[in-house]
Amino acid sequence: MGDEVMVTQEEKMASTIEPHGAKGLPFAHTDLLDTAELTGAEISFLLDQSEAFFEINKRQVKKVPTLRGVTIMDCFFEPSTRTRSSFELAGKRLSADVINFSAAGSSLKKGESLRDTARTLAAMGTDLIVVRHPAAGAAASLAEELAVPVINAGDGCHAHPTQALLDLFTLRRAFGRLEGLKVAIIGDIAHSRVARSNLLAMRTLGMETRICAPPTLLPAAVERYGCSVFHHLPSAIAGVDAIMMLRIQRERASSGAFPSLREYARNYCLTRAHLALAAPHCVILHPGPINRGVEIASDVADSPRSLILDQVTAGVAVRMAILYVLWQQGSGQ
């Protein structure tokens, strides 16, 4: 692959992904910590940017020189295969140097001062930091200490904004719009950063949200997200445009949140029979990895209604857009 190809693609990039010029992006943040802080216009801007990268990802040569010379540190203080691979791929397709800084391979562990972690990262002199941490608020605390942009790749039960944005991107591609869509989110809302970030963004975008779970899997005052609360799956999905199933951690049963996976599945596993209750065009999302037969029946997961693999594909493009936009914010370019 020669430089010629690169330059050609760079020119294409310039025409497709910089409609707003170098200065004054319609995006007012130097970090991406949660969807709570994003306006509808900012979410739309990120999704528009993602479209351009989505197109690039369909090409035979997917690598563009956009972030050549930029170093991205992916810091995962909690095990993750999917999100981490997605970020790594996104960074590499942008030609950035991607470094992994993981808890498993270092002395960093739960209990280290976040300030020390931040200082260590700052001293390495990277340009962008992606962080996944088991403690809620960790990304925000690191961002406070660090001058370079921080992207939250999931902090405890708090937020997972890149997942929410890729979910929205997937829905927007499926429906051509987001406003007015009815979405049901089913499962362990209490422990889900994906649900929180989606509920906040969906409210901002004027979508109708419903949540459904046994009361033991709902957090206190959850209705303040502006969603309707259901405990009965068929009622929750009646007439909805999209159903987002959340992964059930097997250990929830032993903690007493529900009697058994068997009983959970009988009441909350999305089956083919349920789909008739939703809108005819209803699509299925799941942040993965899926528990077949627990929260989602195998044939539903594999059905044409399922966009689960489209989400994975979208994730790379959306993360490319986020890395690109935040690097511009951070470097002032």
């Binding site: 739960k110 001062s113 902090d155 206190a220 303040r224």
Partner: protein, 428 residues
């Protein structure tokens, strides 16, 4: 001729209903006279100041022995003197635990050299483990004024019943940190919208109320006085109020932070706002303030809980519970008077005679002949909380950077000036 005369202050002695602008004279470490035109070897002009009994904090953590990097007897006593306190009751969750007469005696002996009266609280159970009784009789003989497993709820109801029965002949109150661990779970802040929004695990009010309810019943059963530490919920207030109306010997305290702050006020993930019990909702706070005013809550206690910066810099989930309060207490709670929630005399009662009565102490009032423990504060003085200027070794205050109104200036301990113009002059 007196040793020391506090001139022209507004002398408020809540225990005796005194509120008059006058001189107060001290001789031989005791209150000698109140009246106009008193003369002494030394005089302090207290014009514009309130002169009241030295404040009594029946719930502090001095981290000594064992965790002196957080606080020690001297730094804690200096923080107390700067805050207008003359008596502290230190909780037994030290390393080792104050669960024997020897540790209590060591504290009492070392306290001779610090600028505060120290009244230790002994443990209920050995090592605060909740399994077997600590040596309650030995600790009381050595000077313990109460017993408590503060920091832990006593999970075993049978042990708690025995602790209360056993304590009765010693005429000391049993102080509870009401916490049902199974309901508390892994919670780190109040259960509610703020916790949900921040993705943090909640602590339900029931975790506290379940044990308050149990221990009120055990107090009724055993006849032992019960004192509920750091009441934080409206439901807890109601339980205490009903028990008092039914004649059960139960008292309660509230902290400045629970009286003034709610979970909704907490800056996101600020570990200087993490304490147990956690800050609750607005209705809970209102119930606490009302209970403080009507006397259901007899004492304000700071639950001064120092932690070093490196301990509080951890993620919110991992940081220890606890905030400090000795040096900010008065400035914080005086806001309740300005807001018309409680009279100044009643507020001072909850900081002096109220806790003295709970513990059966002879101090907390200004009768002629009483030990001259005094606090002189300027109720109008505005000041900014600068943790780096605290006498405490720790900085974990939710009021860092805030403007408070009302500041202790002079603190007198048994007739000795230990803090003058806001500067501690003993033990430096």
């Amino acid at each position: 001729m007196f040793d020391l005369v506090l001139k022209n202050g507004r002398v408020i002695d809540p225990a005796h209903g005194v509120d008059a602008t006058t001189d107060l004279a001290i001789r031989d470490g005791r209150v000698a006279a109140l009246g106009a035109g008193l003369a002494g070897a030394e005089g302090i002009d207290c014009t514009g100041l309130v002169v009241c009994p030295g404040l009594i904090d029946l719930h502090v953590h001095l981290r000594d022995p064992g965790q002196e990097w957080k606080e020690d007897l001297l730094s804690g006593a200096q923080a107390a003197a700067a805050g207008g306190f003359t008596t502290l009751c230190c909780m037994p969750n030290t390393v080792p635990t104050n669960d024997t007469g020897a540790i209590t005696r060591d504290l009492v002996e070392r306290a001779v050299a610090i600028p505060v009266h120290l009244r230790p609280v002994g443990a209920i159970s050995r090592g605060l483990a909740g399994k077997e009784l600590a040596e309650i009789g030995e600790m009381v003989s050595a000077g313990a004024v109460a017993i408590s497993d503060d920091g832990c709820g006593v999970q075993d109801g049978h042990l708690m019943r025995h602790a209360m029965e056993y304590a009765r002949p010693f005429k000391i109150p049993v102080i509870i940190h009401p916490q049902d661990d199974t309901l508390f779970g892994h919670g780190v802040m109040n259960e509610g919208w703020r916790a949900t929004e921040l993705g943090l695990a909640g602590i339900p009010a029931a975790a506290e109320e379940a044990q308050i309810d149990r221990d009120i019943r055990l107090s009724a059963l055993t006849g032992t006085r019960l004192h509920v530490a750091h009441l934080s919920t409206a439901g807890g207030v109601e339980l205490v109020r009903r028990a008092q109306a039914a004649g059960v010997a139960v008292s309660a305290e509230a902290t400045p932070h629970h009286l003034l702050l709610t979970d909704a006020d907490m800056p996101a993930y600020d570990t200087h706002w993490k304490m147990s019990p956690p800050l609750r909702g607005a209705a809970d706070r209102a119930a606490l303030v009302a209970a403080l005013a009507d006397g259901t809550i007899q004492a304000i206690a700071t639950d001064h809980a120092p932690h070093a910066p490196q301990e509080k810099e951890l993620p919110f989930d991992d940081a220890p519970f606890g905030v400090i309060g000795l040096e900010t207490c008065l400035g914080v709670v005086l806001a309740l008077v300005r807001d018309g929630r409680i009279s100044l005399a009643d507020l001072l009662h909850r900081l002096t005679a109220g806790p003295a009565r709970i513990l059966g102490l002879a101090t907390g009032h200004l009768a002629v002949g009483a030990v001259a423990d005094l606090c002189c504060f300027d109720p109008q003085a505005p000041w900014r909380v600068e943790p780096e200027r605290f006498y405490s070794k720790s900085r974990n205050s939710p009021w860092a950077g805030q403007e408070l109104t009302g500041r202790p200036l002079h603190t007198i301990l048994a007739g000795r000036i230990v803090c003058r113009d806001g500067t501690v002059v003993e033990g430096r």
